[in-house]
Protein backbone atom coordinates (compact mmCIF):
# COMPACT_ATOMS: atom_id res chain seq x y z
CA UNK A 1 0.00 0.00 0.00
CA UNK A 2 1.30 3.45 -0.82
CA UNK A 3 2.02 6.22 1.62
CA UNK A 4 0.45 9.64 1.09
CA UNK A 5 4.05 10.86 0.82
CA UNK A 6 5.32 9.42 -2.43
CA UNK A 7 8.87 9.14 -1.13
CA UNK A 8 7.82 7.54 2.16
CA UNK A 9 6.44 4.23 0.92
CA UNK A 10 9.70 2.32 1.42
CA UNK A 11 10.08 3.61 4.98
CA UNK A 12 6.45 2.77 5.61
CA UNK A 13 6.91 -0.80 4.38
CA UNK A 14 9.95 -1.36 6.58
CA UNK A 15 8.14 -0.04 9.61
CA UNK A 16 4.95 -2.02 8.85
CA UNK A 17 6.93 -5.26 8.61
CA UNK A 18 8.57 -4.64 11.97
CA UNK A 19 5.30 -3.62 13.58
CA UNK A 20 3.28 -6.57 12.27
CA UNK A 21 5.81 -9.03 13.66
CA UNK A 22 5.98 -7.31 17.05
CA UNK A 23 2.20 -6.96 17.22
CA UNK A 24 1.44 -10.66 16.61
CA UNK A 25 4.39 -12.20 18.46
CA UNK A 26 4.81 -9.86 21.43
CA UNK A 27 2.05 -7.36 21.99
CA UNK A 28 -0.97 -9.65 21.64
CA UNK A 29 0.72 -12.25 23.84
CA UNK A 30 1.16 -9.77 26.68
CA UNK A 31 4.92 -9.49 26.24
CA UNK A 32 5.91 -6.00 27.38
CA UNK A 33 9.58 -6.33 26.59
CA UNK A 34 9.65 -3.11 24.57
CA UNK A 35 9.23 -1.81 21.06
CA UNK A 36 11.91 -2.87 18.55
CA UNK A 37 10.47 -0.60 15.85
CA UNK A 38 11.05 2.82 17.45
CA UNK A 39 13.84 3.97 15.13
CA UNK A 40 12.03 2.81 12.00
CA UNK A 41 8.90 4.58 13.18
CA UNK A 42 10.83 7.81 13.73
CA UNK A 43 12.27 7.79 10.19
CA UNK A 44 8.90 6.97 8.68
CA UNK A 45 7.15 9.70 10.68
CA UNK A 46 9.70 12.35 9.73
CA UNK A 47 8.91 11.64 6.10
CA UNK A 48 5.14 11.30 6.28
CA UNK A 49 4.49 14.25 8.63
CA UNK A 50 6.34 16.50 6.17
CA UNK A 51 4.23 15.17 3.28
CA UNK A 52 1.06 15.81 5.30
CA UNK A 53 2.09 19.43 5.90
CA UNK A 54 3.08 19.94 2.28
CA UNK A 55 -0.29 18.66 1.09
CA UNK A 56 -2.23 20.72 3.66
CA UNK A 57 -4.00 17.70 5.08
CA UNK A 58 -5.87 19.02 8.13
CA UNK A 59 -5.02 16.43 10.80
CA UNK A 60 -3.22 18.84 13.13
CA UNK A 61 -4.85 19.06 16.58
CA UNK A 62 -7.65 16.61 15.80
CA UNK A 63 -8.64 14.96 19.08
CA UNK A 64 -8.31 11.18 19.35
CA UNK A 65 -11.74 9.68 18.56
CA UNK A 66 -13.14 13.20 18.93
CA UNK A 67 -16.56 12.74 17.27
CA UNK A 68 -17.12 9.50 19.20
CA UNK A 69 -17.67 11.45 22.42
CA UNK A 70 -21.11 12.67 21.36
CA UNK A 71 -22.27 9.28 20.11
CA UNK A 72 -24.57 7.02 22.15
CA UNK A 73 -22.89 4.02 23.69
CA UNK A 74 -19.42 5.57 23.60
Amino acid sequence: MNSVGEGCTELKREYDQCFNRWFAEKFLKGDRSGDPCIEMFKSYQQCVQKAIKDKDIPIEGVEFMGPNKEKPGS
Binding site: M1, N2, S3, V4, G5, C8, K12, Y15, D16, F19, N20, F23, A24, F27, L28, K29, G30, R32, D35, F41, Y44, Q45, V48, Q49, I52, I57, P58, I59, V62, F64, M65, P67, N68, K71, G73, S74
Partner: protein, 216 residues
Protein backbone atom coordinates in the same frame (compact mmCIF):
# COMPACT_ATOMS: atom_id res chain seq x y z
CA UNK B 1 -31.00 14.70 9.90
CA UNK B 2 -28.71 11.70 10.27
CA UNK B 3 -28.93 8.22 8.78
CA UNK B 4 -27.92 5.47 11.20
CA UNK B 5 -26.63 2.08 10.16
CA UNK B 6 -25.94 -0.95 12.31
CA UNK B 7 -24.70 -4.43 11.52
CA UNK B 8 -23.27 -7.38 13.34
CA UNK B 9 -21.31 -10.19 11.67
CA UNK B 10 -19.54 -13.32 12.74
CA UNK B 11 -15.98 -13.69 11.53
CA UNK B 12 -14.79 -17.28 11.37
CA UNK B 13 -11.34 -16.44 12.71
CA UNK B 14 -9.86 -16.01 16.16
CA UNK B 15 -9.65 -12.54 17.66
CA UNK B 16 -5.81 -12.64 17.42
CA UNK B 17 -5.99 -13.37 13.69
CA UNK B 18 -8.58 -10.62 13.18
CA UNK B 19 -6.55 -8.02 15.07
CA UNK B 20 -3.39 -8.94 13.17
CA UNK B 21 -5.18 -8.90 9.79
CA UNK B 22 -6.72 -5.53 10.61
CA UNK B 23 -3.33 -3.86 10.08
CA UNK B 24 -2.64 -5.74 6.87
CA UNK B 25 -5.93 -5.56 5.02
CA UNK B 26 -4.75 -3.01 2.42
CA UNK B 27 -4.38 -3.49 -0.45
CA UNK B 28 -6.97 -6.13 -1.28
CA UNK B 29 -9.17 -6.82 -4.31
CA UNK B 30 -12.05 -4.87 -2.73
CA UNK B 31 -10.09 -1.77 -1.79
CA UNK B 32 -9.44 -0.14 -5.17
CA UNK B 33 -11.02 3.03 -3.78
CA UNK B 34 -8.37 3.29 -1.03
CA UNK B 35 -5.37 5.19 -2.43
CA UNK B 36 -2.99 5.60 0.51
CA UNK B 37 -2.63 4.37 4.07
CA UNK B 38 -0.35 5.76 6.79
CA UNK B 39 0.06 5.34 10.52
CA UNK B 40 0.52 8.88 11.84
CA UNK B 41 0.42 8.21 15.57
CA UNK B 42 0.93 5.16 17.74
CA UNK B 43 1.52 4.55 21.41
CA UNK B 44 1.29 1.78 24.00
CA UNK B 45 -0.61 3.16 26.98
CA UNK B 46 0.36 2.53 30.63
CA UNK B 47 -2.45 -0.05 30.88
CA UNK B 48 -0.99 -1.86 27.87
CA UNK B 49 -3.48 -0.98 25.18
CA UNK B 50 -2.29 0.11 21.74
CA UNK B 51 -3.72 3.36 20.41
CA UNK B 52 -3.11 4.29 16.79
CA UNK B 53 -4.20 6.81 14.24
CA UNK B 54 -4.22 6.00 10.55
CA UNK B 55 -4.69 8.47 7.75
CA UNK B 56 -6.33 7.07 4.63
CA UNK B 57 -7.02 8.77 1.34
CA UNK B 58 -9.90 7.41 -0.70
CA UNK B 59 -11.34 8.24 -4.11
CA UNK B 60 -14.41 10.44 -3.97
CA UNK B 61 -16.80 8.64 -6.26
CA UNK B 62 -19.96 10.67 -6.70
CA UNK B 63 -22.98 9.72 -8.81
CA UNK B 64 -23.51 11.65 -12.06
CA UNK B 65 -26.25 13.93 -10.73
CA UNK B 66 -23.99 15.03 -7.85
CA UNK B 67 -20.97 15.59 -10.14
CA UNK B 68 -23.01 18.11 -12.14
CA UNK B 69 -24.04 20.02 -9.06
CA UNK B 70 -20.79 19.84 -7.07
CA UNK B 71 -18.02 19.90 -9.70
CA UNK B 72 -15.33 21.25 -7.36
CA UNK B 73 -15.66 18.22 -5.09
CA UNK B 74 -14.19 15.98 -7.78
CA UNK B 75 -10.86 17.69 -7.45
CA UNK B 76 -9.65 16.15 -4.19
CA UNK B 77 -9.86 12.72 -2.72
CA UNK B 78 -11.38 12.14 0.69
CA UNK B 79 -9.15 12.14 3.77
CA UNK B 80 -10.28 9.73 6.45
CA UNK B 81 -8.91 9.45 9.97
CA UNK B 82 -9.17 6.03 11.61
CA UNK B 83 -8.44 5.98 15.35
CA UNK B 84 -8.20 2.63 17.09
CA UNK B 85 -7.63 1.00 20.46
CA UNK B 86 -6.40 -2.59 20.75
CA UNK B 87 -7.02 -4.08 24.19
CA UNK B 88 -5.43 -7.52 24.32
CA UNK B 89 -6.57 -8.13 27.90
CA UNK B 90 -10.27 -7.69 27.07
CA UNK B 91 -9.72 -8.99 23.52
CA UNK B 92 -11.33 -6.00 21.85
CA UNK B 93 -10.39 -3.75 18.97
CA UNK B 94 -12.39 -0.54 18.76
CA UNK B 95 -12.09 1.76 15.78
CA UNK B 96 -13.65 5.10 14.98
CA UNK B 97 -13.21 6.71 11.60
CA UNK B 98 -14.52 9.81 9.91
CA UNK B 99 -13.76 12.04 6.90
CA UNK B 100 -12.07 15.35 7.57
CA UNK B 101 -12.68 17.00 4.19
CA UNK B 102 -15.71 17.31 1.90
CA UNK B 103 -17.54 17.62 5.21
CA UNK B 104 -20.06 20.18 4.00
CA UNK B 105 -21.20 17.69 1.39
CA UNK B 106 -21.27 14.53 3.48
CA UNK B 107 -19.98 13.30 6.82
CA UNK B 108 -19.64 9.57 7.41
CA UNK B 109 -18.59 8.43 10.88
CA UNK B 110 -18.10 4.79 11.65
CA UNK B 111 -17.48 2.89 14.84
CA UNK B 112 -16.48 -0.78 14.82
CA UNK B 113 -15.89 -3.12 17.70
CA UNK B 114 -14.17 -6.43 17.01
CA UNK B 115 -14.22 -8.91 19.89
CA UNK B 116 -13.98 -12.57 20.70
CA UNK B 117 -17.30 -14.26 20.03
CA UNK B 118 -19.09 -15.21 23.24
CA UNK B 119 -20.67 -18.34 21.73
CA UNK B 120 -17.62 -19.66 19.88
CA UNK B 121 -14.23 -18.64 21.25
CA UNK B 122 -12.50 -19.58 18.00
CA UNK B 123 -14.59 -16.95 16.22
CA UNK B 124 -14.92 -13.21 16.43
CA UNK B 125 -17.75 -10.73 16.36
CA UNK B 126 -17.73 -7.52 14.33
CA UNK B 127 -20.20 -4.82 15.35
CA UNK B 128 -20.40 -1.89 12.98
CA UNK B 129 -22.29 1.39 13.35
CA UNK B 130 -22.33 4.38 11.08
CA UNK B 131 -23.78 7.88 11.13
CA UNK B 132 -24.25 9.53 7.76
CA UNK B 133 -25.27 13.15 7.43
CA UNK B 134 -25.23 15.96 4.91
CA UNK B 135 -25.51 19.66 5.66
CA UNK B 136 -26.28 20.80 2.12
CA UNK B 137 -29.54 22.74 2.11
CA UNK B 138 -32.16 21.28 -0.18
CA UNK B 139 -30.12 18.22 -1.15
CA UNK B 140 -29.35 16.63 2.17
CA UNK B 141 -31.83 13.78 1.87
CA UNK B 142 -30.58 12.77 -1.55
CA UNK B 143 -26.95 13.03 -0.49
CA UNK B 144 -27.59 11.06 2.67
CA UNK B 145 -29.28 8.30 0.68
CA UNK B 146 -26.29 8.23 -1.63
CA UNK B 147 -23.92 8.30 1.35
CA UNK B 148 -25.77 5.39 2.92
CA UNK B 149 -25.74 3.42 -0.35
CA UNK B 150 -22.02 3.97 -0.81
CA UNK B 151 -21.35 3.12 2.82
CA UNK B 152 -23.31 -0.16 2.56
CA UNK B 153 -21.42 -1.08 -0.58
CA UNK B 154 -18.07 -0.17 1.01
CA UNK B 155 -19.00 -2.08 4.15
CA UNK B 156 -19.43 -5.25 2.14
CA UNK B 157 -16.07 -4.61 0.46
CA UNK B 158 -14.45 -3.97 3.85
CA UNK B 159 -15.74 -7.28 5.22
CA UNK B 160 -14.57 -9.13 2.11
CA UNK B 161 -11.22 -7.35 2.25
CA UNK B 162 -10.64 -8.41 5.86
CA UNK B 163 -11.65 -11.99 5.02
CA UNK B 164 -9.24 -11.90 2.10
CA UNK B 165 -6.41 -10.69 4.35
CA UNK B 166 -7.27 -13.40 6.92
CA UNK B 167 -7.23 -16.05 4.21
CA UNK B 168 -3.93 -14.81 2.80
CA UNK B 169 -2.20 -14.57 6.16
CA UNK B 170 -3.61 -17.48 8.08
CA UNK B 171 -5.46 -19.71 5.66
CA UNK B 172 -8.67 -18.84 7.55
CA UNK B 173 -11.70 -17.50 5.80
CA UNK B 174 -14.92 -18.37 3.97
CA UNK B 175 -15.44 -21.97 2.89
CA UNK B 176 -16.46 -20.84 -0.61
CA UNK B 177 -13.63 -20.17 -3.06
CA UNK B 178 -12.63 -16.51 -2.77
CA UNK B 179 -13.02 -15.82 -6.50
CA UNK B 180 -16.72 -16.77 -6.38
CA UNK B 181 -17.47 -14.89 -3.21
CA UNK B 182 -15.57 -11.88 -4.63
CA UNK B 183 -17.67 -11.93 -7.79
CA UNK B 184 -20.84 -12.34 -5.74
CA UNK B 185 -19.87 -9.50 -3.41
CA UNK B 186 -19.16 -7.17 -6.33
CA UNK B 187 -22.54 -8.01 -7.93
CA UNK B 188 -24.25 -7.46 -4.60
CA UNK B 189 -22.59 -4.07 -4.11
CA UNK B 190 -23.57 -3.05 -7.65
CA UNK B 191 -27.20 -4.01 -6.96
CA UNK B 192 -27.28 -2.17 -3.64
CA UNK B 193 -25.62 0.88 -5.17
CA UNK B 194 -27.97 0.89 -8.15
CA UNK B 195 -31.15 0.53 -6.10
CA UNK B 196 -30.27 3.22 -3.59
CA UNK B 197 -28.69 5.53 -6.15
CA UNK B 198 -31.95 5.47 -8.12
CA UNK B 199 -33.69 6.54 -4.94
CA UNK B 200 -31.10 9.29 -4.42
CA UNK B 201 -31.43 10.48 -8.02
CA UNK B 202 -35.20 10.80 -7.62
CA UNK B 203 -34.78 12.70 -4.38
CA UNK B 204 -32.28 15.03 -6.08
CA UNK B 205 -34.66 15.75 -8.96
CA UNK B 206 -37.46 16.53 -6.54
CA UNK B 207 -35.20 18.78 -4.45
CA UNK B 208 -34.35 21.12 -7.31
CA UNK B 209 -35.18 21.00 -10.99
CA UNK B 210 -32.50 23.59 -11.82
CA UNK B 211 -28.74 23.24 -11.75
CA UNK B 212 -27.21 25.36 -9.04
CA UNK B 213 -23.67 25.97 -7.83
CA UNK B 214 -24.56 28.04 -4.82
CA UNK B 215 -24.12 25.28 -2.25
CA UNK B 216 -20.56 24.36 -3.16
Amino acid sequence: MVKYFFSQTDIKSSWEHVFTAFWQRYPNPFSKHVLTEDVVFREVTPDNTLISRRLLTKTNHLPRWAEKIFPSNLARSVFVIEDSIVDPKNKTLTTFSWNINHTRLLVVEERCVYSMSQEKQAWSLAKREAWISSGVFGFSRAIQEFGLARFKSNQIKATRGLEYALSTLHGDGPSRPLKDSAKEAIEKTKETALATSEKAKNLATVASPHKSNQFV
